[in-house]
């Protein structure tokens, strides 16, 4: 875990260089091929932005310069796409999949609809992200760095599914004592944002890349007020301010300042454990089961070359935020961090989901 946590964008670039240098030249050639990178969400969410950012770069850096297209397969909060990917076999290395925290959580929680096994898949790249919760203008004006003034008011939130990444904001708001009604079955965070924009939802959260692109204009127009980020993991495992949003307080700070919200105890431990599983290595690119080593190497080399670009820190900060990126072997340990959560945290969340949403995972 530690190895992961102290890596930041700059360091990962340096790491990428060493990987690139140490790999043998691959005989894999994708000339004239089309690589289909399936994202199990709709076109409007953070994963879409993430894949659309990497696709053209990947195309330039893979041997033979194949066309890389991003395909969207939304449904059941990414379970549909992940179940689909589980059925894919290696053919010629042109099938790629991008999972997200919303794919990891139901897997961790033993959701009965999950028919995929992370252990079967081959990670080639992982990158972290953060998340920002924001309020409508009216309630945002009442927000003073604590949730004290937000109690006693009913908020509406478009939720992708109780066992998805949405459990991070849901649990956070719950711990803050906010009364949030969840509209279930929203197809992606982009659709949740549309509900916020139309005024149907009054509170929302987006992952960093989607926040940068779609919510920043709303903030500038005065239609949305950022509330808190989930933070980032500091070197010693503490939650620190998100480097992409240094001016926005973290949930930890807000919780500390809010009456009745505690940053210790079972609720906090569970929240933090799921945050670590969900965000610092949230989005992972996979090749299907049975992919031979030379193809894996070709992809690893391509992603390392992307990370080694002199302008990478700059262009990725603009579109994805300032988060670490892991390539090759490091993406494997990133995956391990993303799919490991202590039993006590799991039990707490399972119990809370049952009580709050009536979701039975047994």
């Amino acid at each position: 875990m530690k190895k992961l946590t102290h890596l930041v964008a700059g360091a990962s670039v340096a790491f990428g260089l060493t990987v690139a240098a140490s790999l043998p030249a691959a005989a894999v050639d994708f000339s004239g091929k089309t690589i289909e990178w399936t994202i199990p969400f709709s076109e409007t969410g953070g994963s879409a932005k993430w894949a659309n950012f990497f696709a053209p770069l990947l195309s330039e850096n893979l041997p033979g310069k194949p066309t890389v297209v991003v395909k969207f397969m939304p449904g059941a909060g990414s379970t549909k796409g992940a179940n689909w990917f589980q059925k894919q076999k290696h053919t010629d290395g042109t099938v790629m999949f991008g999972s997200s925290g919303s794919t990891q959580f139901p897997y961790l929680l033993g959701d009965p609809r999950v028919r995929y096994e992370y252990g079967d898949w081959n990670p080639v790249m992982a990158s972290g992200t953060g998340g920002v919760a924001y309020l409508n203008a009216e309630d945002g004006a009442k927000f003073d760095g604590t949730a004290n003034n937000l109690k006693g008011k009913t908020f509406v939130y478009g939720n992708q599914g109780a066992t998805r990444l949405d459990l991070i904001p849901a649990l956070a708001w719950k711990m803050l004592g906010m009364d949030v009604e969840h509209v279930m079955g929203v197809k992606g965070r982009g659709d949740g944002r549309k509900m916020f924009e139309s005024g149907e939802a009054t509170v929302d959260y987006q992952t960093s890349s989607a926040f940068l692109k779609n919510v920043t204009p709303l903030v500038e127009e005065g239609k949305a007020v950022p509330m808190m980020t989930w933070g980032a993991l500091g070197a010693n495992g503490d939650i620190v301010r998100d480097p992409t949003f240094p001016d926005i307080p973290t949930f930890k700070e807000v919780c500390d300042a809010t009456d009745g919200c505690e940053t210790s105890g079972p609720a906090w431990d569970a929240w933090k454990a799921f945050f670590i599983a969900g965000f610092p290595s949230q989005k992972i690119a996979f090749l299907p089961a049975g992919t031979p080593q030379d193809v894996m190497d070709a992809y690893t080399k391509a992603f390392a070359a992307i990370a080694a670009r002199s302008d990478f820190a700059e262009i990725s900060a603009k579109r994805l935020g300032k988060y670490p990126m892991y390539v090759g072997a490091d993406s494997k340990s990133a995956l391990a961090g993303a799919i490991t959560v202590s039993d006590s945290a799991k039990d707490y969340v399972t119990g809370w989901l049952q009580a709050e949403f009536g979701v039975s995972l047994k």
């Binding site: 091929k33 659309n52 179940n83 509209v183 549309k194 139309s198 149907e200």
Partner: protein, 676 residues
């Protein structure tokens, strides 16, 4: 003022997006493809768009828009050739044109009919584009207020029109729409991922059926099979004759009629889902009603050409309204258009309110591309009319295999999967049966296209309304009964009433004879069987995933009710009743020179051979055998035509880097491309 500060810069921006040589080239390419697609009977906007869909990935947004808009805009212009020269509608939007256009051609006035039609089409297209410009300006602030209940109402508005589409027996149309919606719910549920009418042992269905396949199967396949069974030279060699100027003068003399029909086209186009299949009939009905001297209609009155042709191009502008403003498809081809938009560039374009808000320049670019495409299309049609007319002299048996080949290729674009072909064949068979027994196919497709938005928005609206009502009755009513919702409700009711009055003019599928109880009864029982299965399957979805069950259970129950009423009516009524419509018993289909089953077995054979030999080898055999045996060509010509077909397929596949669906043979042997 919002209009001046926002719209004018966006309009100027839109022009700078369009007026680039590359964009205009893409537009010209789209227009040319659209003209080709329109000329061939059986191919329409859906087939055309699904062919260019794979080229959209990552394409510069303005290029992709130009290509697609160019294609969609001119299909209703060039489909006139088939209607006037052959007496066969080139696409569903030109059915009414046949009534007076074809008699004119028989009298040697083909050129006059065509030029009147082109002038009307151009005028209608421009009216549509101007309307859209104006409508976006006015509607933008209102549309930005739309929430789930409003969007649900817009979708429901579209669905409420199926009764009008249904033709003579409204219940059949409603049940057809219900079956369309149920077919759309096949696969994993959108909320909890629970499987509906599918199983993981059969993964193809778990992904749901794709619109391209359903659209092509339900419309294109039945048309091709029907035309093949007639197998006449599509038109007896008619000379176009003179009279190009006379046609334009005819249009000018009826410019007010043309204006009224264009407005009808725009208004009908705005209704989600209704689209092309009825607009020409409504315009034709209006044309006949508003003229004192009706004796000439049906025998070659040029006003019968001007009316429908003014309306069917105008409706494309109207049809873009729900598509662009709400993200709710105005028709089958618009549903594909929405899907294609998200593939453009890095996916920055989203239709709906977001586009109005953030991409007003693209919104206007679409409008002006539409207008430009109409002008280009008309010029090309007039300039090339001699050459295009010659195409219509070719026997359909020589064209049909190519059209079927192209449709198959379009169908398996998404997955290079043999199952795509099988699904196309299955849906095609359903389409043939629906056509035979006069069940409304447009109603089926509307159901299929609108099922998704209706399910989504009703889920959202229902939950949010629940929350609001818990806050207080007033808050709840404010949400579900907003002024916009109420206005839409009134519009829906008025449209249904006006629509039902118009319904008698609509013969969306032509006259169908009745006779014989057994076959129509059997088909009804099959439909009831499917609906009952859907009801059973979705009603047994476990409780934790009940959200996935609500919509299909509701629709299946309503459809089952329709079915049972129909069943009771069938017992009570004589076999001459419209209920027992069956094309095989009378009318033009009874005089076919080929029976249904042998014609169909050609395509079944292609499917079977593909599963054994792979697509390209199977296609070789199919084309060769078809040309030699069915069309009766000499070996030499059969071989040449087969070669052309295979070469075209390989060219397209090379361009797209696609493989063809493999068969059993490829399972055992490694074959070189394109046989893989």
């Amino acid at each position: 003022m919002d209009i001046l500060s926002l719209a004018l810069p966006a309009l100027a921006d839109a022009w700078s997006l369009i007026l680039q040589p590359t964009v205009l080239m893409y537009l010209l390419l789209g227009v040319t493809m659209g003209l080709a697609v329109g000329v061939f009977p059986g191919l329409g906007g859906i087939a055309g768009l699904s062919l260019v869909l794979p080229f959209m990935f990552g394409l510069e947004p303005s290029y992709g828009l130009a290509l697609m808009i160019g294609m969609v805009a001119v299909v209703p212009t060039s489909d006139t050739f088939a209607s006037v020269l052959m007496g066969i509608p080139g696409s569903s939007a030109s059915q009414a044109t046949v009534l007076d256009g074809f008699p004119m051609a028989k009298k040697g006035l083909a050129a006059r009919a065509l030029s009147a039609a082109f002038a009307s089409s151009l005028f209608g297209g421009l009216v549509g584009a101007f309307f859209l410009t104006f409508f976006i300006l006015v509607a933008r602030p209102i549309v930005l207020e739309f929430k789930s209940p409003e969007l649900l109402m817009v979708s429901a508005f579209g669905l409420s029109m199926v009764g009008i589409l249904a033709g003579r027996v409204a219940l059949k149309g409603m049940m057809a729409a219900g079956v369309g919606m149920l077919v759309a719910t096949i696969g994993e549920g959108p909320f909890n991922g629970e499987l509906r009418m599918a199983s993981y042992d059969f993964p193809y269905l778990a992904d749901g059926l794709k619109l391209v396949i359903v659209g092509l199967g339900i419309f294109a396949v039945p048309e091709i099979v029907a035309l093949l069974r007639k197998d006449k030279a599509i038109s007896e060699r008619t000379s176009l004759g003179a009279g190009w100027l006379a046609g334009v003068r005819d249009w000018w003399a009826n410019k007010w009629l043309s204006m009224r029909c264009a407005l009808i086209g725009v208004i009908v186009g705005v209704i989600p889902g209704l689209g092309g299949s009825v607009v020409d009939w409504i315009a034709y009905g209006h044309t006949v009603q508003t003229n004192k001297d009706r004796s000439g209609f049906g025998k070659g009155d040029v006003r019968g050409v001007v009316g429908p042709e003014s309306s069917n191009n105008a409706k494309e502008g109207g049809g873009l309204v729900p598509t662009l403003l709400f993200g709710i498809p105005g028709s089958g081809s618009m549903a594909i258009f929405i899907g294609a938009l998200s593939l453009l560039g890095s996916g920055e374009l989203e239709v709906g309110q977001v586009m109005l808000k953030n991409n007003l320049n693209y919104t206007y670019a679409i409008v002006w591309l539409l207008a430009l495409a109409n002008v280009m299309g008309t010029i090309l049609c007039i300039a090339l009319s001699g050459q295009i007319a010659r195409i219509t002299n070719i026997r359909f048996a020589l064209i049909a295999p190519f059209i079927f080949m192209i449709i198959s290729f379009a169908a398996f674009q998404s997955g290079q999967n043999l199952m795509d072909l099988a699904a196309l064949f299955a849906i095609g068979f359903l389409g043939i049966m629906m056509r035979r027994f006069d069940w409304s196919r447009p109603a089926f497709l509307i159901g299929f296209v609108l099922a998704n938005p209706v399910e989504n928005y009703s889920n959202n609206a229902n939950q949010i309304a629940g929350i609001r009502f818990r806050q207080g009755f007033e808050a709840g009513m404010d949400y579900i009964a907003s002024p916009i919702v109420l206005t839409l409700l009134v519009i829906t009711v008025v449209s249904v009433i006006v629509g039902l009055k118009q319904a008698r003019n609509i013969r969306a599928e032509g006259e169908v004879a009745s006779g014989g109880k057994r076959a129509p009864l059997l088909f009804l029982l099959t439909m009831i069987g499917f609906v009952s299965f859907a009801l059973y399957d979705t009603a047994t979805i476990p409780g934790y995933a009940f959200v996935d069950a609500v919509f299909p259970v509701t629709i299946a129950s309503a459809s089952l009710l329709c079915g049972l009423v129909l069943l009771a009516q069938m017992r009570l009524r004589p076999e001459s009743d419209a209920l027992f419509a069956d094309r095989e018993t009378g009318g033009e289909d009874a005089d076919n020179c080929f029976a249904l089953w042998p014609t169909l077995s050609w395509f079944a054979a292609l499917l079977l051979a593909t599963s054994l030999l792979g697509f390209i080898l199977a296609l070789c055999g199919f084309l060769l055998a078809f040309f030699r045996l069915r069309a009766g060509l000499a070996w030499a010509r059969s071989l040449v035509l087969t070669g052309i077909g295979i070469a075209f397929m390989c060219f397209m596949a090379r361009l797209l880097n696609r493989d063809f669906p493999p068969g059993l043979l490829q399972h055992y042997f490694d074959l070189p491309w394109p046989l893989t």
